[in-house]
Homo-oligomer: 424 residues x 2
């Protein structure tokens, strides 16, 4: 009988001054962590240090005690600043040895460009004893030290992604066949506050291997289900039961989708099913809603046009909003939002229209209509809705983002109420 599968946890060291200086987010760490987990491997620490040999040596030494595998990114280039090979050599007491195949490969590439061999390239071709190249066309290599597989990758995200998928993960899978599986499932909730979700999920009984959490995410609330089990099949079963239970407690009418079913994708599906055309009229969001809708492949099936009507003249000419209405209520009003949506639908001959008008700030607010005041109107063949929102506490970007998200939620609700929402 096979042994019970175990958690295979490893360490990641990312070398890069630009992370320590706050210039960039550690995108490599996120990518590596997510890809590993999807294939049944966990990280129990991520360490970022600069290109300082002593720091790399110390952290490599620590990771070698207690990790089942070690991945290192960065510090493999040809310059004096690149210290990873020298650090590996010291930490593992493995002399640097010229890799003849790699040296030849580098030499050939130089030859093709008519360039000469340099001491920097000589340095690059010297790898720690026992190193095996990970493909020739990058500086990556691997070696097994005291039974721990260690992978050394360049720092460039594209090369990291390529080598991880083609070399590192397949090698790990071959070395650790008997491991746990992990799976994550996201349920996207609309129209409930975190406290309400908490209330509804209170009666969930704990299940071994299942962790359920919830958190706000870009205007929605997400319930996440994370499961660990002996294999993918068991993971899927655990996810299914937990998901069904959560959806029943939350109520299907608050669930807009699962995993990467963002609102713009779900709304697009609903429009396509009904063969309805959509038209957008945006003022304060300035094209953000159109940008979200058109981010989905095939959006041309249902989006006819989007109008960013920044000036009053554009609102009149393109949407037929009368100057009387604009001067009576102001461009930022429920009346104008409604007229924008109606005019947009009519002029385009579209069944569905969404209009947004508001004050994104930082200027333009008043006592009556402070920055963050936004009106959204939706028109569909079965109904019409106008709502006022106050997004007063955010930056211009946040107000625009919240407005576009609220418009998608309104449109989703109107479309979903109008027929069964396909949610598997």
């Amino acid at each position: 009988m096979a042994d019970k599968p175990s958690h295979i946890t490893g360490s990641l060291i990312t070398i890069g001054d630009e992370i320590l200086l706050g210039d960039i987010l550690n995108g490599n760490a996120r990518h590596i962590a997510a890809e590993l987990r999807a294939r049944g491997f966990l990280l129990d620490r991520i360490i970022t240090v600069g290109d300082i040999e002593d720091d790399i040596v110390e952290n490599l030494g620590r990771c070698l005690s207690g990790s089942r595998f070690v991945i290192v990114t960065g510090g493999l280039g040809p310059t004096d600043d690149d210290r990873t090979c020298a650090a590996v050599s010291r930490a593992m007491e493995r002399p640097l040895i010229r890799n003849r195949d790699y040296a030849q490969w580098l030499r050939d590439r130089l030859g093709e460009r008519g360039l000469n061999w340099s001491s920097e390239l000589e340095r690059m071709a010297a790898l720690p004893q026992g190193a095996v190249k990970l493909g020739m066309d990058s500086a990556g290599f691997s070696l097994v030290h005291e039974d721990i597989p260690c992978y050394f990758l360049p720092g460039v995200p594209e090369e990291v992604a390529l080598l991880l998928g083609k070399e590192v993960i397949p090698d790990l899978e071959a070395r650790f066949p008997n491991r746990c599986a992990y799976l994550k499932h996201i349920i996207r909730i609309q129209g409930l506050l975190e406290a309400q979700i908490n209330e509804r999920l209170r009666s969930l009984a704990p299940v071994a291997g299942v962790a359920i959490g919830y958190y706000p995410q870009g205007g929605e609330n997400w319930v996440s289900i994370f499961v660990a089990a002996r294999n993918e099949r068991e993971c899927l079963d655990l996810i299914k039961s937990a998901k069904d239970e959560v959806v029943a407690l939350i109520g299907t009418r608050h669930v807009s989708g699962h995993n990467d079913d963002c609102l713009e994708k779900v709304v697009g599906r609903l429009l396509r099913e009904r063969s309805w055309k959509l038209v957008l009229a945006e003022s304060c969001t300035g094209g953000l809603l159109a940008r979200k809708i058109t981010g989905i492949p095939g959006a041309s099936d249902y989006l006819d046009r989007g109008l960013v009507t920044y000036s009053n003249r554009a609102k009149s000419e393109l949407l037929g909003v009368s100057e009387d209405l604009l001067s009576a209520h102001g461009a930022v009003s429920g009346q104008v939002a409604r007229a924008m949506a109606r005019g947009a639908a009519k002029n385009a001959g579209a069944e569905v229209a969404v209009a947004i008008t508001g004050i994104a700030g930082p200027g333009g607010g008043s006592a009556e209509k402070p920055v963050g005041t936004v009106f959204i109107a939706c028109v569909t063949p079965t109904g019409e809705k106008v709502e006022k929102y106050c997004f007063g506490t955010g930056t211009r970007e946040q107000i625009q983002e919240n407005s576009a998200q609220a418009a998608l939620a309104m449109l989703w609700k109107l479309l979903a109420e109008n027929g069964p929402l396909v949610c598997d």
Copy 2:
């Protein structure tokens, strides 16, 4: 005479399973690193571990040897999963002691909501001996251990940002008055390849305390100048000389801006100076260009309207593109791009128009016009330009992003050639 200022380097420990699982980017780490550097403090390591007491104890112990300060985020909540206080107690041999003021504050807040005291809150109010609360309305605290100031912050980004700015950095500044200053400057380059920049900057002589690098960033190339000096004044002087030298070598006509002067901001400034109105006609970018332009406060001064003409009908109705032209050349063609720009300018009565039409994919490509084929047209009172781009290697999102960025660069070039560009 004052001592020579020194580099003050510290450690950051971020506690969070969601980072180890690859669910989120470590935004706290980036924010903390960037804010610290701006005030003269550096990080020499960032360590991420999960909510595991032993791991936190071990890493705290390590950071306490060799760091001038330590910052920890996460693990301060009321649940059993939150292990930071217990770990601090063990790592520093400081018993957990009930903080009476904090307990009272928590009790008062509960009372306001009509809730009862719980064992979880009792646990939250117990802090390591010597701890000083960082404000009452968060779980953060600080303590000085063996002369090393240590700051323990919650994991919520908003609370981290608040406590860092109001409590941590002012305290660090008071403790380490004699420290180096750091400054970074970005020069944004248009129309040159990395290899060309490398060629032009080859003659730069090295200067102590000045590090110059260059890297591609969202369709532009950036030259970054990072300086370290005794004070801000010296930093500014070093930046100024380096900047002048770099701009002279690169050529002013390739420099579109500095630091956060993105193209949409510079283009807006140029339009406002000339009192010209802008109108946008987008097909494959679906509003992304409008979204970028309207992301800048005050864009309503020059943006009249944006038209997302996804359907051919919209191209005809809104831009006057004739059906003959569409059927003769296809919607994705230089002829249609030009007609879209001309029609947009004419219909809106605007001086300047930009039009984009292309195939963002993943579907819709052909042998003649593969995915990534994009035509961009710009019309200004002084000229007109149509260009074809091939962004074939990216995802839909990357092709849209590259197209919008290329349109901004084209517009900038046309506007900037037409008069002196103000670059300080």
